[in-house]
């Protein structure tokens, strides 16, 4: 585990830093403070949803329903607003509803023992469908400016976006839990071998259940932020985000089989994808090419470590044979 941590994570962090430096030097208008604000706003939803997603994938499961949960809370936010609820009530309510969506996922997966991939593909359709039922194709837009303005605004009108505080605080909390507490270690244990973890006294089912609840709650929060950022509650908000999040998490070095990966790697993965997109757009490279880059990076993020380790394995075997001879 620690070996993997040292190699792929460091590589992806180094690559991210390299891309940021090169882009600032080569791409016009990339390194400006305004562009920094834009990038932070663009990576906000991916990075927040990626935090609990990292936990879930580390335990060897997956949650594909997050973007639909986001859409559902966004829809409901518009509906509540139209029905006269105050925004101060709506925001916690939406987070709770997101958590409830997570409770259903968690129950189906840990309570009934169903495969998380199939369950969350099902709830992906279900939650998005409910979002459409709530708001149809309509949009609700007249949210109060002091809230929408906060999400898009910066601290004191400077270069640091308000939402960056939120990102930093949540990333720190998740990072500390994963890397510095028994809970975090138990997640790795579950992902490495759920049965062994169970025998070691870890409550596997309960832990996974709460991960889905947290994932739902965070998706609910992101639904609120998304709605406020675009001043527009719509059922199709965030459609397809789950793929971007999973891509970023895997790119960050988390193994889809569980048990491996680190949060700094994931954060680097998100920043790398967002920065690449931003730089390519500034260079007028079409969104199409972006798709190819994202897909290729995703496959390579797993393929390359595999190739490297198999080449290294061959080399060591040869060396062994040589020393034997």
């Amino acid at each position: 585990m620690s070996r993997k941590f040292a190699t792929w994570d460091t590589a992806i962090i180094a690559l991210t830093v390299l891309v940021l430096i090169i882009a600032s030097l080569v791409v016009d208008n990339f390194g400006t403070s305004r562009n920094f604000t834009f990038m932070v706003l663009d990576l906000l939803p991916i990075i927040l949803v990626a935090l609990p997603m990292t936990f879930i994938i580390v335990t060897g499961e997956i949650d594909l329903s997050v973007a639909s949960t986001l859409g559902l809370t966004s829809s409901l936010m518009g509906w509540f607003w139209n029905h006269g609820l105050s925004i101060e009530t709506i925001i916690p309510l939406c987070i709770v509803i997101g958590a409830v969506a997570g409770v259903l996922n968690g129950f189906l997966i840990t309570g009934l023992g169903l495969p998380s991939l199939a369950v969350t593909i099902g709830t992906l359709a279900l939650y998005r469908g409910l979002a459409l039922v709530v708001l149809g194709d309509g949009a609700v837009a007249d949210f109060p400016f002091n809230y929408t303005g906060w999400v898009t605004g910066t601290i004191g009108g400077g270069a640091v976006p308000n939402v960056l505080i939120l990102i930093v605080v949540l990333a720190l909390i998740f990072g500390v839990i994963l890397h510095a507490t028994p809970v975090g270690r138990s997640l790795y244990a579950i992902g490495a071998n759920a049965q062994a973890a169970h025998f070691a006294g870890i409550r596997v089912a309960r832990t996974k259940f709460w991960l889905y609840v947290v994932s739902g709650a965070v998706a609910g929060l992101v639904g609120v932020l998304w709605t406020l950022r675009y001043s527009s509650a719509r059922a199709d908000n965030g459609a397809g985000l789950e793929l971007a999040v999973v891509a970023a998490v895997l790119l960050g070095g988390v193994s889809i089989f569980g048990g491996k990966g680190s949060l700094p790697g994931v954060l680097a993965g998100v920043v790398l994808l967002t920065a690449l997109q931003n730089a390519l757009r500034l260079e007028d490279v079409s969104g199409q090419a972006l798709n190819i880059v994202t897909g290729a990076l995703l496959v390579l993020s797993v393929l390359l470590p595999n190739l490297i380790s198999s080449i290294r394995g061959n080399w060591q075997r040869r060396k062994l044979r040589q020393s034997a001879a």
Binding site: N29, E88, S232, N237, G287
Partner: protein, 352 residues
Amino acid sequence: MSRHRLAAVLAATLLVAAGCGGTTKDNQSDSAGTQASATADPNAKLKEGLKIAYLPKQLNNPYSDVETSGGEEAVKELKGEYKKVGPNDAAASSQVSYINTLIQQQQDVIVVAANDPNAVCPSLNQARTAKIKVVTFDSDASKDCRDAFINQATTQGIGESLAKMALEQAGGSGDIAVLSATPNATNQNAWIEVMKTELAKPEYSKLKLVKIAYGNDDDQKSFQEAQGLLQSYPNLKVIVAPTTVGIAAAARYISSSSYKGKVQVTGLGLPNQMRQYVKDGTVKKFALWNPADIGYLAAYAGAALASGQISGAEGDKFTAGKLGEYTIGKDGEIVLGPPTEFTTENIDKFNF
């Protein structure tokens, strides 16, 4: 035990939050700021070398391709720099990142067809703060976040034309249905409203509007909605589709089904897409403005704004190349002109 306590805490939080009122839809103050217009100098010369960027609803839409091709022509005449960018999907939020990029690139004019009138607003206002002129076309953004809007035709004119064509095609009486874009499409809804007022008039008393279906401007969805309409309403005589995607899909379905010749399709369509169905008799008549002229007019309006010739105020006048002189109307609207009707006689004269 702890689980119950958590639930109780959450419930209490909600109740407290609900109890102390807070900001609701009814009591919020409208604080969206509007920008003061600069004064215009009608004699200012149009600047050369202006960077004019087009941001359609999405790429890969043949209709907006024609619109922007007109823009490209005009920008060339203006000796400016033309650029077209856009998302692959028409989701409300996907345009925002592109607007941000255009701000970073310091364009002079952004010509945008808004996917959502509000979602693009904060970014467009940021662009205007950065001295970029914003012209909307095709689908307007809220009027306090753009400088001018190119309206393809008056809402009244299109609504009337749709009702008139429906009456002709139905032969004076019978059931008609509308196949629209999305239920919240600003244009389509306004036209359908006018159409409904028209239908209430005595000369339309024998026409019955049985259903408004939505194909979401998605080819396949529109196709299936057309199919559903005919299954649900056996006496349907005319499908009116006020969207180029919808009319083409409806015509394609009818032309390949047993309803061909019995059910008419009309509405707003692109001649190139509809040519086949006009020739095989599925469609007798449909209408549209020339979309290339919209993009063309937008470029000149943007250039006039960026050169200080006009400020976007009502009554400002400017000349748009081959299209002649235009006057800005209420709320910064510039109306292109009346729509053209296409029939089997004239369709071969148009190529867009």
